[in-house]
Subunit: 209 residues, 2 copies
């Protein structure tokens, strides 16, 4: 099946959203925890997280200000801190439910049944149920004028993960940690490892690690 | 296990790269096909693709100019077109092998054993073996000065996918299409669907679709 720009433009809006979101492949699924200046907690699900660099440890997320994500963005702009929490099979339905348009005075933690956790004096809640998570500080916001979205660049400040999921070479076994992935807008998946592959060099065969 | 900024800074460079890359979760795995102005094909594996918007159909990738990705970036800048090809279980090892530092005059298609395919007059090769793929045009390059990377924003021009993998509502079943996902720098995974969940609304229970 081949479709071009014109057919895409003529597609029903919801169908196009479901289709184009699917093309993004299997995506990182995280809950982002923030807090407003008057202490109101917020929790929102994101599938746009991507790695930017390891030193300093930077990542990006895309925020759409017209969605349930707008409270997250306002909070990040007001105090600069936010938590990132990977989602497991045991609470992916609650994670999905945070995408409902709750009123500003509702904490999604209460609404969906997840437990806030605080680290030191950081003004942002983490998700107790999450096994791989970190506290981040916003380093830069870049407005993507091409479609009125925002790129938030965060630096990892403190990271928590199950020690028995880490290999001696630093790699984390997310499958063992129970992390799930999302495709499209609403399809959730667990994974099954094919292999880890050795560092690629020209004219050398790959090895399975 | 909890680790902070100072421990991260003191970590061995390779260990930190493996660790921080793992925190990005399960990621979209694609091969990007480009062509230089003198017709030399290039193919490079990326795990930073993310959805930006459905109308117009936009996505982003992060390019590190110090890596094997530099030829890709040069080609995109010189002619503006590139192909994006999802990776399946049948050629993930070849996809990984494209990350080796081949000389500029080597086509990774030949080096790893994948087949270039051309659509109309677009000056960029696609991967014949890929089942979900599209031709893209670069709309914007944003320099991320914070760590000397580049955000390339592409628009989808023409998309190819197996018709029997699409639901009536537009969603593509990537699992059925055989698309794989990557975690960290080198771990490849197939997926197993938990469920698709209905559109979330406050005070309404979710349904499995």
């Amino acid at each position: 099946m081949n479709i071009g720009k014109e057919q895409l433009a003529n597609m029903d809006q919801r169908e196009r959203a479901a289709f184009i979101n699917s093309l993004g492949g299997f995506k990182s699924l995280v809950l982002i925890g923030t807090q407003s200046i008057n202490g109101q907690s917020n929790l929102a699900v994101f599938s746009s997280l991507f790695h930017l660099g390891a030193n300093p440890p930077l990542f990006g997320i895309i925020v759409r200000p017209d969605k349930s994500e707008r409270h997250t963005f306002e909070n990040i702009q007001s105090n600069g801190f936010f938590s990132v929490n990977q989602v497991t099979e045991f609470f992916y339905e609650q994670a999905h439910q945070t995408s409902a348009r709750y009123a500003r005075e509702v904490s999604e933690f209460d609404a969906v049944g997840l437990t806030p956790e605080f680290w030191n004096d950081y003004p942002a809640p983490l998700v107790k149920e999450s096994r791989v998570k970190w506290m981040a500080q916003c380093r830069e916001v870049i407005d993507l004028k091409i479609n009125d979205t925002h790129l938030v660049i965060g630096e990892m400040l403190e990271i928590s993960y199950p020690e028995d999921c880490q290999s001696p070479d630093g790699w984390l076994d997310l499958e063992k940690a129970g992390t799930v992935t999302v495709s499209g807008l609403d399809s959730y998946h667990v994974t099954s490892q094919l292999a880890r592959l050795s560092y690629a060099k020209p004219d050398q065969p790959l090895k399975k690690l």
